[in-house]
Amino acid sequence: MRKNTTNRLLIAGAALVAITGSLFSCRTTGSQSGPISTDAATAVYVPPGSYDEFYAFMSGGFSGQVTVHGLPSGRLIKTVPVFSQHAENGYGYSEETKALLNTTFGFVPWDDSHHPELSQTNGVPDGRWLFINGNNTPRIARIDLTRFETEEIIQIPNSAGNHASPFITPNSEYVVASTRFSVPIPQKDISISEYKGNFKGTITFVKADSPGEMDIAFQILVPGYNYDLSHSGKGASYGWSFFTTYNTEEANTLLEVNASRNDKDFVAAVNWKRAEECVANGSAQTMPADYVHNYVDERRIAVSEEKSGVKVLNPADCSGLIYFLPTPKSPHGVDVDPSGEYIVAGGKLATVIPVHSFSKMIAAIESESFEGVVDGIPVLQYDAVLAGEVEDPGLGPLHTEFDGKGYAYTTAFISSEIVKWEIGTWKVVDRIPTYYSVGHLMIPGGDSQKPWGKYMVALNKITKDRYLPTGPELAHAAQLIDISGDKMRLLLDFPTMGEPHYAQGIEASVIKDKQVRMFSIQENTSPYAIKSEDEARVERDGNEVHVYMSTIRTHFVPDNIEGIRAGDKVYFHVTNLEQDWDVPHGFAVLGARTSELLVMPGETRTIVWKPQGPGVYPFYCTDFCSALHQEMQGYIRVGAEGSTRPLAFSTGN
């Protein structure tokens, strides 16, 4: 008995040595060739000091932000603030970033961000920008992927519930927006019970390919349905975009019952090339509509411009603009395969996944195989456009992505699984459970013309028992699944921020070598910048005081300031004189009711401080910057309101 135990210990010890050895050995070329072992741990292990293979951009859902994870490790490597203020770096608090959150409703420091979308060239993610929608206050943001910073946000007028957004066209010509909630357009005071006929939807195309110049290209007025999701055509179907609808019943109450009566709703196929022609030939009407466009200018300061008037197309005035494809039943996702021929709709109450054929759709349009017309929009015959139906796809099919190898992967929310099926035969070939209630899924490039078909991420809505419990609210669960082989294989659970509603992924090499590491101090064109400590100063203008301050390891100039008065409005313009990577300095001051500032090397950021009473207030660097970081501090002396003490400032001596 004892001997057996010893043997077992020896074996266990040998195994431990082997495992330890493999853990500490260098990750070599095997790491690039995919999960090579049957061991899931090996497949997701990225040794210390090594990089992940993919960037994954997760929407923050109700956090309003974007988080960036590495795949296959699942490690969280960045939070990019987009629609919500972010006290961690002063986004939405600093004078240079506040304007990004301006809307016609005023300053709106939160949104519900659902669908990140990478810019594309020739239908392939190119790693220039990431777009993401704001649902609640209809907006679209553009994030620059050399800096991982939000640089532009445009508001969508004539809209409510911007859910089917910002799905991009193959050369980033447009990102789209639409109304999940139909509303009176233009808005007016009207009884909700008069929904039918009075509430309308819009589909919006936003010019996207010119940084700082996003604008509403045109809107299309559509029936008062709920427009849910979208994807653009590509390849064969380039020039078209597809949108799902539900609530074709036009119910205005208890939608879970009243909007689920029709056997079929529609996929709306929009010919945006045709829309461009109609706009060019004057078929669009200009509607009064106010919206705000915010962008970071060449000084790295966000500015807002108020805009008015949009071009609106009525389908009746532009033949060939839009067609309805009957689709069972309350379809949610609409996804186009890499060739552009197949349009897959996830009918969340349907028992099959209908796949429409683009070429059959074109033939049906040419032969006018219509079963009716709604508000000037022809409804095509279901059988005339259908390529096939995937049977037994699981309960509640929602979203589909593609691996570029002939297979599609569809999430089934109710039965908590992902089914893999073959394009063309429409046969389910594999299925894998998810934990739990999967919504979107993401394969890097999986909604583009060139998927990187190696990993798939399931974005689950329900977490339950997957992590250590943390009170009533739990981090949403993402699950990494290996799709490199015939059988899907669960590799990893990892937690996410907010609701990771949808995601995009891209091979790391496309982005990682383009990263900006600092801003040149000589090229800093902020009017509040100082280029050297010689220029540091404090100036008074009535009750406004401007402190032009510098940081470098490891001091502020100035670090002793006197002559401030209670009731002053003090602007700290902090310029970081460092010219090296990974040396931001922070700035925080006692009594601030906003946030800190985090100032990147070579950059200038400004925060406003209003001292409330006399005293001496310390300020300090919040970002551990050097061995003498704890010495990086200063004091501001504040006198009573009306004090006549003159301004004075110094550093050293």
Binding site: R517, E533, I552, A627
Partner: protein, 173 residues
């Protein structure tokens, strides 16, 4: 002065900030040999660098470690010195004064203590200098704040040397 072509600077040198330096310094103690670095990532290999202390050549001891091996100062060039003065103000003066010790040492006699090449290498390659060169190591121990890499070009570093020629006590011009 210098011409910069882009509005935003896009500087992509490979070097590491102080946090990385501290972390790698700690790692050096732990790792016996070279660790699992990213093979495709250029940049200093701190773990191995620290072990090559005793391999410094007499040339490196004299002229420092970095891209500059020797400098022929030639005749004093006031235009270059003016350019150096302007650069010094923007990139260096937050830590160095000419006549007094500040965050770093006073520089009024630096050219009597160091060769021009040494000064340029300290400007251009401070991370490796403070890890490997015995004189730079001594200064790090004394001042605690490591010399920051302000990412000057070799030409800019040369201009600063010219400025220092003009300000040094033992004028070497």
């Amino acid at each position: 002065m210098h011409v910069f072509k882009t509005k935003y600077s896009v500087i992509r040198y490979f070097s590491f900030g102080p946090r990385v330096l501290f972390a790698t310094a700690a790692l050096c103690g732990l790792l016996v040999a070279q660790g699992c670095g990213n093979k495709d990532e250029p940049g200093p290999s701190p773990a191995s660098a620290s072990n090559r202390m005793d391999e410094l050549t007499s040339e490196q001891l004299r002229n420092g470690i970095g891209p500059v091996t020797s400098v022929d100062l030639g005749e004093y060039n006031p235009d270059l010195a003016n350019e150096g003065q302007e650069l010094f103000k923007i990139k260096c003066s937050a830590c160095h004064k000419i006549d007094q010790r500040y965050v770093g040492p006073a520089l009024n006699d630096v050219l009597s203590r160091r060769t021009p090449a040494y000064v340029m290498n300290m400007i251009l390659n401070p991370e490796e200098m403070v890890k490997r060169h015995p004189e730079a190591k001594k200064l790090l121990a004394e001042y605690a704040a490591p010399m920051a890499n302000q990412h000057l070009t070799q030409e800019e570093a040369r201009a600063i040397v010219e400025f220092l020629r003009n300000t040094n006590n033992n004028q070497s011009k």
